[in-house]
């Protein structure tokens, strides 16, 4: 078990982080590139960046929006994001993994991280419940949506248990599940909807730029499909 843990925390972690970083850089660079290109092609290049930024900021901390639609789901989703990001980023043990790279940043004391992880766990469980039991959520859920949720639940749940003295599962087993599921999540990020962790601001921007049409787009489409004579309506 110790060797497995060492493998997970050593070479596999390095491999996953490299994939994650390179994958996200690729995602962001490609997305920014296509948006710059779209703006260049647009007939009206006057993109309301200030409004887009304001809306992004509102939805990063959507305190005034959560209660309006699916309040339980919305609060669960918000607190899951808050809990999982803060506990993953600010746990001392996680920060220490970056020590060999000479990186370090302030940590949150363990008891608080435990509460944040618990918050994330409860949020995730509610989200899974919605996917399974609420008609509209179930209707739009695919296999990947369930897999990602289960992996997150295992990662957060096992991570929380690992720090508890009352945990009846052997520590090493708990950690193997925690790290293995966590690594699976990290490696999936660039290839699944989890990429929204980096693309989030670009989604809203693309929605705005999409309405800024190319000046000759309609005519060019007709020429491509029907030849230079075009078509009648």
């Amino acid at each position: 078990m110790e060797e497995l843990l060492a493998l997970l925390k050593g070479p596999l972690l390095t491999f996953v982080v490299v994939i994650l970083v390179l994958g996200l850089i690729r995602q962001v660079v490609l997305s920014v590139w296509v948006l710059i290109e779209a703006t260049r092609r647009a007939g009206d290049r006057n993109i309301p960046y200030a409004r887009v930024l304001r809306n992004i900021a509102i939805w990063v901390f959507p305190v005034t929006r959560l209660h309006r639609s699916l309040p339980v789901f919305s609060y669960a989703s918000f607190f899951f994001h808050l809990g999982v990001i803060s506990s993953a980023v600010f746990l001392r043990e996680h920060i220490d993994l970056f020590g060999p790279l000479g990186l370090s940043w302030p940590s949150i004391p363990r008891p608080y991280v435990d509460w944040l992880a618990l918050l994330a766990f409860v949020g995730l469980t509610i989200l899974l419940g919605y996917r399974i039991y609420v008609r509209q959520s179930r209707a739009v859920s695919g296999f990947a949506d369930y897999v990602i949720l289960v992996l997150l639940i295992v990662t957060v749940g096992m991570g929380y248990l690992a720090g508890q003295s009352w945990n009846v599962i052997p520590y090493d087993v708990t950690m193997v599940f925690h790290i293995a599921a966590g690594l699976a999540i990290l490696v999936l990020i660039p290839f699944t909807k989890l990429a929204h962790c980096a693309l989030y601001p670009l989604v809203r921007l693309s929605s705005e730029i999409g309405w800024h049409f190319t000046q000759e787009g309609g005519h060019d489409v007709v020429k491509t499909l029907y030849g230079p004579e075009g078509r009648k309506i």
């Binding site: 647009a42 992004i56 929006r65 509209q136 739009v140 859920s141 809203r204 499909l225």
Partner: protein, 471 residues
């Protein structure tokens, strides 16, 4: 807040109606090619051409990598709230388009199809997509509830455009557009110029006998500040709206004119085809330049206002021509004290319906309310309203599709009907030709004793004309 209980009150009859279009595919959106056997192929060819020449590709690309499928958009959609039909969930609708994009236009999708042998796109799937896209009223209410910032209205717009270039477009819209762009009258209702002139003369006389003052509908006056475009159907059906607008412009001393070459503001391109959208905008710009007008003034019409405000800058190749909606201008004139409205005339209980195309972006929400509150004694709001308003149920061009009248009455417009009923209002002000048509049919269908009028219909009743116009 959205009323969740409404979901459970859907009757069996309504669900049956919701399912009806499925039984008759293309009953309301086919004009040229009767059920082409190769429509899946045509759809993909059209998809590729549109991606190549437009700005939709980055949107699909980023959406494909980010859609979280939370389903929150469903709670904002008045159609889904009534039907509970999964194909009416906005992100489900978008997902169908995104899936095709991933499958046929990305390397990952191509590889996946090769390895896993994914089924190719079928005619049946195209039929399902077409039905799904035309059940949407394109009100974009879902976009304000999406935490990610996805605009499902944009994907619906794209999907309908692809369908249209594949020969699948609503005949109710195509026939009108054909007359507007290729016919003699150059307007969607085939109103000849002579009939327009007669109507305007009649309205001038009617106003004089009603108010004892004169108004003018100036035609082809070169160099006017504003060139006025309104839905041509107004000239057939909205006499009060037109007289109210002319009264405001006359009383306010505004320099304006109506062009005799192009006088229709309707642009159905917004609902199904960008090529059409651009050609109608070009026609509007051409007429404004012919008359050496400085600004485009749009009448009471949601989609025409949005098209001009947001797409004139996209398609205009010449000098900048600002666009203004008549309600903005009336508000400015009222604020400047150039028009006066009698607060004792309108005594009925009045409510205001926000047309989605001008309210969803937050563009025109306060101006009409400020005008109404200045002279209407008993004004009551619907809940919710403004940016979060509910669609009349005839948006996205569906109001012009008579084949789906029952769907519009029992599904698309149900939430709006309940909203209006809850206000207890006797008059609904709906400053949009499409909304007015839909709401009148809706009030009639549900037997609600509510009058549906334009904003300037009420202004007509209350406006105090200056003495100079009595000469």
């Amino acid at each position: 807040m959205v009323d969740q209980t409404r979901i459970t009150t859907t009757t069996t009859e309504e669900k049956k109606v919701a399912a009806e279009p499925k039984k008759q595919p293309y009953s309301y959106h086919l004009d040229r090619i009767p059920l082409a056997e190769d429509r899946a192929e045509k759809f993909l060819e059209s998809f590729a051409a549109v991606l190549r020449h437009t700005n939709y590709k980055p949107v699909l690309d980023i959406y494909a990598r980010s859609m979280a499928h939370c389903g929150r958009c469903a709670t904002a959609c008045p159609v889904y709230q009534t039907t509970e039909d999964p194909r009416d969930i906005p992100c489900h609708r978008s997902q169908q388009i995104v899936d095709i994009y991933k499958r046929y236009f990305t390397l990952g999708g191509w590889l996946r199809a090769k390895i896993l042998g994914d089924d190719p796109l079928t005619n049946q799937k195209v039929d399902e997509i077409a039905e799904s896209l035309y059940r949407c009223t394109a009100c974009r209410r879902c976009s304000i509830e999406c935490p990610m910032g996805l605009d499902h209205g944009l994907i619906t717009h794209f999907g309908r455009y692809v369908l249209s270039e594949a020969g699948i477009d609503p005949k109710g819209l195509v026939v009108s557009v054909r007359e507007q762009l290729e016919g003699e009258t150059r307007n969607t209702s085939k109103v000849p110029l002579l009939a327009l002139k007669d109507t305007l003369e009649f309205l001038e006389e009617d106003f004089e006998s009603m108010k004892g003052a004169k108004i003018r509908f100036p035609l082809d006056e070169e160099g006017a500040e504003y060139v006025f475009f309104t839905p041509v159907s107004d000239y057939l059906m909205e006499a009060e709206t037109l007289m109210g607008i002319a009264a405001v412009l006359t009383a306010g001393g505004v320099s304006w004119t109506i062009g005799t070459h192009v006088y229709d503001a309707i642009n159905y391109g917004l609902f199904y085809n960008d090529w059409v959208l651009q050609r109608v905008v070009d026609q509007t710009l051409e007429e404004t330049r012919r008359l050496k007008g400085r600004r485009i003034l749009i009448g009471e019409c949601g989609h025409a206002s949005r098209v001009s405000q947001f797409f004139v800058p996209s398609f205009n190749r010449g000098e900048e021509i600002p666009v203004i909606n008549i309600m903005e201008l009336t508000y400015d004139l009222l604020k400047a004290g150039k028009i006066g409205l009698d607060p004792g005339v309108v005594t009925e209980k009045v409510t205001y319906h926000d047309p989605c195309n001008i309210a969803r972006s937050g563009w025109i929400i306060d101006q009409p309310r400020a005008i109404l509150r200045s002279f209407v004694k008993d004004f009551v709001e619907m809940t919710p309203n403004g940016r979060e308003n509910y669609c009349c149920g005839g948006g996205g061009g569906t109001v012009s599709l008579d084949e789906i009248h029952k769907f519009r009455m029992e599904i698309g417009g149900r939430t709006k009907m309940e909203q209006i009923r809850a206000t207890g209002a006797e008059i609904v002000v709906a400053p949009c030709a499409n909304c007015k048509k839909q709401l009148r049919e809706l009030m009639n269908y549900h037997k609600l004793p509510v009058q549906v009028v334009g904003l300037h219909d009420l202004i007509l009743r209350a406006i105090r004309m200056p003495k100079s116009s009595s000469d």
